[in-house]
Amino acid sequence: MRTLWWTLPALFLLTLFVGGQGLVFVDGLSGWSNIDAGFWPALWITLRLAFVSSLLAVMLGVGTAFLLVKRRSAFWLTVQTCPVIIPHMVAALLIINLLTASGLVPRLLYACGLIGSMRDFPPLLNDAHGVGMMLAYVWKGLPFAALVTGDALRRMNPRLVDSARLLGAGPWRAAWEVTLPLLRPVSLSAFLLLFTFAIGAFEIPFLLGPAEPRTLPVLIYDGLTNADLGRRPAALALSSLLALICAALCGVGQYVGMKGQPHD
């Protein structure tokens, strides 16, 4: 039991962290009556954006996992791992390089004769629909979803699909009725994880988002950096709310993930 002492520094640091969240909650209590009018639109766009981009990332990710199920080389692992590790800030920069009016995509479209000038390309960055933000999230989230569902695919008992095929199901039907339902738990927990990260992300909406409506983290950040210090409590209150939403989502994700543990 002497080794228990060695865990204390780490536990102390973690307790400080939780204590800090407690302080934010307490100091934010006076801010609840003073919430920014932009809160509801911010909450709405944050949830909508996170939902749509995570859903897209998981659906395309499952497709990619099917496509790459037999590819286990270092090259394919690297292609899939890199976007997961590259920070949000850089993902935003990549999207800017591709999709601004003078980005590579409009240049390619011009080269193909599909648009006549820069102005024909719709503004996809800092737009109210959040297309640029969504693409940045999908670029980062898709490979993550592909990696975890690909892992589950390879662990799956191949006899299940073989039996379905023997019973007369075509390859598409076997995938649809056997493989996909078995992938449901792992895709759901990947979705919840991406959803949680997207709700809390700051750099992507800060760089690619429209001036209005701002996402929740950007709204909080603006409240904190505002010259008017009276706006800090309201920002702290919203920060607590954001943390609570994310913690609850992770709790659900853990529960789903545990229920879906492969047992064969």
Binding site: T15, F17, G20, L23, C82, I85, P87, S240, L242
Partner: protein
């Protein structure tokens, strides 16, 4: 055939943006509508490797290495406890470990800032260091817990029977077997530290500069060349980690095949 085309598409989607980034980092002029830069330059790379930018990059590296060392050292015993022992409150401890991952970065950094200010300390390099170590800790514990699970307890017991004390067992039996996980945790930890933005900003009070605090304003100002050069560092770090991951996983697999 379709599969092959689709796989090429996958590679394009992931590698084309990186290729464009690399091109911007050496482009002097890239006028509309040409598909390749009109003039090349080594200026952005040169600027990055001299003067204050180079100093900031160096500071980022030192911060990353130190925070990783601290976090991994603290994580080793905690990971062992979670891998080996069952005790009341274990679930709670696991939740505590995951807390810095679960709470979004802004809220997390804000909490640490409140803690710092309430305890009468001012923002500093050390505060940033502690913050980074804290955000590395969950990843390190998760990776090392798997590592500890892979070490048969019988080996340690045998060493003890042969007269080794706790420290010797750790140094000569556990540590060598833990090395792949330690390497992985350290590599990942370094990248986590390198990528932190808000914690650095809030705990450093705007005085501690790292790669991210340098890069974000540059992106926002639309300085394509300098932004691309700085961002390439992250891409290289990510590639380096992938290499590490491949090597470590291959070594672990070969050891497993020898053992069985």
């Amino acid at each position: 055939m379709t599969n092959r085309l689709l796989r090429i598409l996958v590679v394009m989607v992931f590698l084309l943006p990186l290729a464009v980034l690399l091109a911007w980092s050496v482009a002097l002029r890239w006028p509309w509508p040409s598909l390749l830069p009109a003039a090349y330059t080594g200026r952005w790379w040169l600027e990055m490797s001299t003067g204050s930018t180079a100093a900031t990059l160096g500071a980022s590296m030192i911060l990353g290495i130190t925070a990783t060392l601290v976090a991994v050292t603290l994580a080793v015993p905690l990971a062992r406890l979670l891998a080996r022992q069952n005790f009341p409150g274990k679930r709670l401890m696991e939740m505590l470990v995951l807390a810095p991952l679960v709470v979004p970065p802004l809220s997390a950094a804000l909490g640490l800032q409140e803690m710092l200010l309430r305890s009468g300390l001012s923002p500093s390099f050390n505060a940033v260091l502690a913050g980074h170590a804290l955000f590395i800790l969950p990843y390190a514990v998760i990776i090392l817990r798997e590592g500890w699970r892979g070490i048969p307890q019988e080996l340690e017991q045998q060493a003890r029977l042969l007269g080794a004390d706790g420290g010797q067992v750790f140094r000569h039996v556990a540590l060598p077997l833990l090395t792949p996980s330690l390497t992985l945790a350290a590599g990942f930890g370094f990248i986590v530290s390198l990528s932190q933005y808000l914690p650095t900003l809030l705990l450093g009070g705007g005085q501690v500069h790292t790669l991210t605090t340098l890069l974000l304003p540059v992106i926002r100002n639309g300085e394509r060349g300098p932004a691309a050069a700085l961002a390439t560092v992250f891409v290289l770090a990510a590639l380096g980690f992938c290499l590490l991951l491949n090597r470590v996983s291959r070594r672990v697999t070969s050891r497993k095949t020898v053992a069985s």
